[in-house]
C-alpha cells in the first residue's frame, strides 16, 4: 500500500503543482497496468443520455432542482445526478449539490490532495477515462445527492481503490463533506 499511496500522492501533488499531465497519465498507466481491477466494460447505469436536456422550464411546482448540464456534448449528463457517467465509482455526496461543481469544492471547504482513482466509460466518445475522486472536507455534510456507485471499487485492503475511506488527508479538517470527479486522462490501453 505504501508504494501505491506514494504514487497516488505524488501524482496528485504534482498535478496540483501544474506539472505535465502526460507524465501523470504515464505514471498512472503503469500503475493501472498492474491493477486490472479497472473495468473495461461499459458502465451500464451511467447512461447519461436521458438525464441530459435542460430545454424548457421545469414544472414550477416540481420541487426538484432543475436539470443541470455540462454544456459539452462529449461530456453528457447532469452533474447533480448519480447517473452522470464520471460518477461511476462515487460512494458519497455530489459536491455539485452543495455549492461546488463536478470538479470543484463548495465554498468554505478544502479539497484533499490525496485521493482514490476510478475508471469510467464516457458514453459519448466510448472512451474509458481515469477519474480522480477528490473529497472536499471541513464543510457541512447531510446526505443531499448521496450516490452509491461502485464501479471499480475494491475492498479497503487496496485503499486507493476504495470509496468508503474518508479521503481527507493533508487538509485542516478530516471531516467529510462531498466528492468531486476530476478527469486525469484516458486509460492508457485505449490511447
Amino acid at each position: 500500500m505504501a508504494q501505491f499511496d506514494l504514487i497516488t500522492e505524488k501524482m496528485l501533488r504534482s498535478m496540483a503543482g501544474r506539472t505535465s499531465r502526460r507524465s501523470i497519465i504515464g505514471m498512472l498507466g503503469s500503475m493501472l497496468a498492474g491493477a486490472s481491477s479497472l473495468p473495461l466494460l461499459p458502465v451500464g447505469h451511467a447512461n447519461a443520455a436521458e438525464a441530459k436536456s435542460t430545454d424548457g422550464p421545469p414544472d414550477p411546482n416540481s420541487g426538484e432542482t432543475a436539470p443541470q448540464s455540462t454544456g459539452n456534448p462529449q461530456d453528457p449528463g447532469d452533474p447533480t445526478k448519480c447517473d452522470y457517467w464520471r460518477y461511476c465509482a462515487i460512494d458519497g455526496s455530489l459536491c455539485a449539490c452543495y455549492g461546488g461543481t463536478k470538479t470543484s469544492c463548495p465554498p468554505g471547504t478544502e479539497m484533499s490532495p490525496i485521493t482514490w482513482i476510478g475508471t469510467c466509460r464516457n458514453p459519448a466518445d466510448s472512451r474509458n477515462y481515469i477519474v480522480s475522486y477528490n473529497d472536499c472536507c471541513g464543510g457541512l455534510p447531510w446526505g443531499r445527492c448521496a450516490c452509491q456507485n461502485n464501479q471499480g471499487d475494491r475492498p479497503v485492503v487496496r485503499p486507493q481503490n476504495n470509496n468508503e475511506v474518508t479521503w481527507c488527508f493533508g487538509v485542516q479538517s478530516q471531516s467529510y463533506t462531498c466528492t468531486v470527479s476530476i478527469i486525469l486522462g484516458v486509460a492508457i490501453d485505449q490511447k
Binding site: M15, A16, R18, R21, I24, I25, P39, L40, L41, P42, P57, P58, P60, N61, S62, G63, E64, T65, A66, Q68, N72, Q74, D75, C97, Y98, G99, G100, T101, T103, S104, C105, P106, P107, G108, T109, E110, M111, P113, N122, A124, D125, S126, R127, Y129, N134, C136, G139, L140, W142, G143, R144, I182, I183, L184, G185, V186, Q190
Partner: protein, 383 residues
C-alpha cells in the same frame, strides 16, 4: 475467473468497435481537468439569493431567484444558531453553541465570523458564561446595532440578559441584565428594546463601550393573558410591526432612543370576523421596499393553532391600514420573506418545500425542495 476472461474478451471486442466510434464523433478525448479548485461567491450576492436557516441546525445559501435552484453554499450550525448578514463589511456572523463531545462535555457559545465570498472562517468570538438562549432559531435572539458595529445576543438561563459584542474589534464588551424581559430588537442609534413579562417594552441605550447609557420602560401595552404579541416583526420605515395572536397589529417606532408605542389596529375587518382569521406560522410576516406588510393568515384559527401553517398571505398598506390583497398559497406556509428588489419574490416555507411566488400577483414561480426539513425555518434574503 472464467467470468474475468469472458470480460477481457468482450472488452477487446468493444475496444475495436469503440475505436471506430471515437474516430467518427469525437476525434480527441476530453482533456485532463483543472487542478483542485474551491468555489467562491460574488462580493455582492444577487438579490435572488437567500439564506435558509434550518431551525439553527444548518444554514444554506440558496439561489431561489432562478430555475437552476442551486445550493450556493452552506454554513454549519449546531444548536439554535442564528445568522447576521453584514452589508458594512464582507462578513457573516453565526452565533452558535457546541459541546466538546457532541451533545455532552464542555459547552462553548461562540460567534463565527465568515468571509462572505469564501465562506472561510475569518475569526471567532467566544461568548462567556455559557448562557446564550437555546431557543429555536428566530428573530430577536441576535441583532445588529450601532450600524452593525455591535451584535447583541439574548441570553436565557432562565434569567435574562444581553451580551454586547464589538464586531469590529471582535471582542465581547459586556452584559446587560434584563430581568423578566425577552429578546432583542435594535432601537435608536446604539441600543435595543426588549419585550417584558409585565407587558411593557424596556429600551436600553448603550454607550460606545457597550455599557448602559440610558434606560426607559413603556407603559404596559402587550396583554399577555388575553392577546399577546408574536415576537416576529416587520420593519417599515423604522417602524416595527408586531402581530398579535388574535389579529391586531402593533406598531412601535424604534428610530430614536425615545421609543414610541403607536396605536394598534386590526388585521381582520368586521366583515371577515366570521372566518376566524388569525396570523399563524413561524416567520409570520414580512415587508417590502414598497412599504407593504405581508402577513401569513389562517382561517378557522383557535387556541393552539398560532404556529400552524397558514393558507393565505394578506397584504396591507400600513399607512392607510387597508388590506390591499389576499394571496392564496398552493400549500400552507409557515415562514415568509421577501427578496429585496423593486418587484420582490415572496418566499414561503411550506413543509419540505420553499415556494417562490411573484409578490405582485401571487403566482407561483417555482418550488424548491428542502430535503429532510421537519422543524422551523428562518429566511434571510440577500441584501
Amino acid at each position: 475467473m472464467n467470468k474475468a476472461i469472458g470480460c477481457a474478451a468482450c472488452a477487446s471486442l468493444l475496444a475495436g468497435f469503440s475505436t471506430f466510434v471515437m474516430g467518427a464523433d469525437f476525434p480527441n478525448p476530453l482533456p485532463p481537468e483543472a487542478i483542485p479548485r474551491v468555489e467562491t461567491l460574488p462580493a455582492k450576492y444577487p438579490t435572488g439569493w437567500a439564506f435558509l436557516n434550518y431551525a439553527g441546525d444548518r444554514i444554506e445559501l440558496r439561489n431561489v431567484g432562478s430555475d437552476s435552484r442551486e445550493v450556493k453554499g452552506q454554513l454549519q450550525a449546531h444548536d439554535s444558531a442564528t445568522i447576521l448578514i453584514s452589508d458594512q463589511r464582507p462578513e457573516l456572523y453565526v452565533a452558535d453553541t457546541v459541546w466538546s463531545r457532541g451533545t455532552r462535555g464542555t459547552r462553548t457559545d461562540f460567534i463565527t465570523i465568515y468571509d462572505k465570498q469564501t465562506f472561510n472562517v475569518v475569526d471567532e468570538i467566544v461568548l462567556p458564561g455559557t448562557k446564550r438562549a437555546l431557543i429555536t432559531a428566530m428573530e430577536g435572539l441576535t441583532t445588529f446595532t450601532d450600524e452593525q458595529r455591535m451584535e447583541l445576543v439574548f441570553n436565557f438561563t432562565p434569567a435574562s440578559s444581553v451580551t454586547v459584542v464589538d464586531l469590529v474589534n471582535r471582542k465581547v464588551l459586556g452584559d446587560v441584565e434584563i430581568p423578566g424581559c425577552s429578546l432583542v430588537y435594535p432601537s435608536g442609534k446604539r441600543g435595543f428594546s426588549t419585550l417584558c413579562q409585565s407587558g411593557t417594552l424596556l429600551s436600553i441605550r448603550l454607550d460606545e463601550k457597550g455599557a448602559v447609557a440610558g434606560r426607559s420602560e413603556s407603559k404596559a401595552f402587550n396583554p399577555l393573558d388575553t392577546d399577546p404579541l408574536f415576537t416576529a416583526s416587520a420593519l417599515i420605515g423604522g417602524i416595527r410591526y408586531f402581530p398579535s395572536l388574535h389579529g391586531r397589529i402593533q406598531p412601535i417606532d424604534m428610530r430614536t432612543e425615545d421609543v414610541k408605542v403607536l396605536p394598534d389596529w386590526p388585521l381582520v375587518s368586521a366583515a371577515d370576523a366570521s372566518g376566524n382569521w388569525r396570523p399563524s406560522g413561524w416567520q409570520i410576516l414580512a415587508s417590502d421596499e414598497q412599504k407593504l406588510l405581508y402577513v401569513l393568515m389562517q382561517a378557522d384559527a383557535h387556541e393552539g393553532t398560532h404556529k400552524d401553517p397558514a393558507n393565505e398571505v394578506w397584504v396591507y398598506n400600513v399607512a392607510s391600514k387597508a388590506r390591499l390583497k389576499r394571496l392564496r398559497l398552493v400549500r400552507p406556509g409557515s415562514s415568509i420573506s421577501l427578496t429585496h428588489t423593486a418587484d420582490p419574490l415572496l418566499l414561503v416555507q411550506a413543509g419540505e418545500r420553499l415556494d417562490v411566488y411573484q409578490a405582485s400577483d401571487g403566482s407561483l414561480v417555482r418550488s424548491l425542495d428542502l430535503p429532510g426539513f421537519h422543524t422551523r425555518m428562518q429566511i434571510d434574503p440577500a441584501r
